[in-house]
């Protein structure tokens, strides 16, 4: 890899020990990827949840703070493994909560922006088309590449922090034009209208295409930013989709031919009503009464919060069921200023603003049966915890949570 003189001097320790450590990691991983150089990024987005980072993650973060590290670009952060804003009200083990607090403290000491959100791109870290990014959250990477036309690889945890510290990332993968071209043509013949349809479509897409860049045809032109978020988040979790094109919708795909870079597709695929039905049946494993109804995977935006508020109007959450809605503090704060707030939380629903169902310790929270409208939750949670999933559209989730 070619390094500039300035980068060489960082590697020699001239910019401090934290930057030296970060630079060693970034250059060595970059070499593995055959990166020719490092490029400046406009922002970083990192993991800081204890359930994924483990004790090694606590030590890594604290090593960087001890060495005097500071992020050199705006750096935002994914949700945590415990809702730290409501101490004591969530029954995570004390030792677990302490470790999570240590990571959060170290992240803040490095100068990070404590948004605790997987949808940074909807409010606090909004890139422009063509920006190079150092992000690790796979759903956010998928949105940035596909919907915004920014450039990001799915960085590994640890590498994300290092890139944020030095403000550089290896030049490889989705930063290169060649790898951003769609290869596989996916015709969507199923009728996709509701958010729930996009959840299921994203799941099918991820499972079918794996790591390839699909070109989607047949999506409605009035698809909303939230629906594009849902589609990409689900596909990124079910496969390793880091980028998709939707013809006539996403910026690098004004036409099918442009999305495919003027080449014929390597493969063609059709997703019809039966694929969607099978996926729904696969994700929906139980009729059991849920301990927890979890909404917001990816986290809800303001418009999604207001939509749930409308459904919850005049309803109360049934005893024995918890209804948790995941949304960053920024949107929850705005919702609290609207007349819809009472409908949203007055009936017993809880806004969880710093955490996410995927990374909360479900066993410790006493959750054995979980109902959700999110295919991402339905797909990932049973692989991590001993939890049965009931997968249904939003309206059905609200009906079960509130009765009647």
């Amino acid at each position: 890899m070619h390094l500039t003189r300035q980068q060489e001097s960082v590697l020699r320790g001239d910019s401090g020990e934290a930057a030296e450590f970060a630079m060693r990691l970034v250059t060595r991983v970059g070499d593995v990827y055959g990166a020719d150089r490092l490029v400046p990024v406009t922002s970083a987005h990192v993991f800081a949840n204890y359930s994924s980072l483990n004790d090694a993650g606590v030590e890594l973060f604290e090593r960087f703070t001890r060495l005097g590290g500071k992020f050199s670009v705006p750096t935002t952060v994914n949700p945590l493994s415990a809702d730290l804003e409501k101490e004591g009200s969530f029954s995570v083990p004390r030792s677990y909560e302490i470790k999570q607090r240590r990571i959060a403290r170290a992240f803040n000491a490095l100068g990070g922006v404590p948004c605790w959100s997987c949808i940074n791109y909807q409010f606090c870290n909004v890139p422009r088309r063509g920006d190079d990014l150092a992000w690790s959250e796979s759903g956010a990477v998928c949105y940035a590449n596909s919907v915004i036309g920014a450039r990001a690889n799915r960085l590994s945890a640890g590498l994300d922090i290092a890139c944020g510290l030095i403000g550089l990332t290896p030049h490889f993968g989705y930063l290169l034009d060649d790898n951003r071209r769609g290869k596989l043509l996916v015709k969507v013949t199923a009728s996709i209208r509701s958010d729930s349809d996009y959840h299921t479509l994203g799941y099918v897409l991820g499972r079918e295409v794996g790591t390839q860049v699909p070109v989607l045809e047949g999506l409605r032109p009035d698809i909303t930013p939230d629906q594009l978020k849902i589609l990409g988040g689900a596909a990124a979790a079910a496969g390793s989709v880091a980028m998709y094109h939707a013809v006539g919708i996403t910026p690098d795909a004004p036409t099918r031919s442009q999305a495919l870079g003027g080449e014929p597709p390597t493969e063609r695929l059709e997703i019809g009503p039966s694929e969607l039905r099978h996926a729904r049946e696969e994700l929906d494993q139980t009729d059991r009464r849920p301990d927890l109804v979890a909404l917001g995977g990816p986290q809800y935006s303001l418009s999604e919060l207001l939509n749930v508020a409308r459904l919850l109007e005049g309803r109360r959450v049934r005893p024995g069921i918890r209804l948790w809605i995941y949304s960053p503090a920024y949107f929850a704060g705005l919702a609290a200023k609207t007349t819809m707030w009472r409908s949203l939380v007055g009936g017993g629903a809880r806004l969880v603003t710093t955490s996410c169902a995927e990374i909360q310790p479900m066993g410790a929270l006493g959750v054995h049966s979980l109902m959700t409208n999110s295919s991402k939750f339905a797909n990932l949670i049973p692989a991590r915890y001993d939890v049965e999933i009931r997968y249904a559209p939003l309206e059905e989730c609200v009906r079960v949570a509130t009765g009647g």
Partner: protein, 145 residues
């Protein structure tokens, strides 16, 4: 005579240990228990086996990008593999191993892109020598005859 394979160095180092060969893509995040080194992903063909001290083979990684920290935690607790060999290594493997060296001074080699294909040559239990600095792997098999 051992059989020799050549590949690309992902993380430098030297190891000699029995092989543990997984055929399916491997999910490190929530798929390995750092406290024991055992594979806990029930959908994986190595489910229940310990990677500790073995030359671990899997074709490529899958799942969350936090896998690097699960590998690092496994190494931190002394339950890491002796080496990792892939068809194609990903950022979780390279980041986890390089951090293992930088933070805990445990140098675990990794290599990928082998000729001939490591997955047709190496079987679980073979003794495998990984000399990543030289880009070379040697394989011994105990013959039962």
């Amino acid at each position: 005579m051992p059989q020799t394979l050549e590949g690309r160095t992902v993380a430098a180092g030297y190891a000699r240990a029995p092989a543990l060969v997984g055929q399916k893509p491997f999910m490190l995040a929530y798929g390995i228990d750092p406290k024991s080194g055992r594979v806990i992903d029930q959908r994986h063909d190595l489910y229940g086996q310990s990677v500790r001290g073995r030359v671990l083979l899997f074709p490529h990684g899958k799942g969350p990008t936090s896998g690097s920290m699960w590998l690092l935690e496994t190494i931190r607790r002394g339950n890491g593999p002796a080496a990792i060999l892939n068809r194609e290594s990903d950022a979780n493997v390279s980041t986890g191993l390089i951090l293992g060296e930088l933070l805990y001074r445990r140098k675990i080699p990794a290599m990928d892109r082998f000729t001939p294909d490591a997955f047709t040559v190496i079987r679980t239990g073979d003794v495998v020598e990984v000399d990543a600095a030289r880009g070379r792997v040697r394989v011994w098999r105990w013959l039962t005859k």
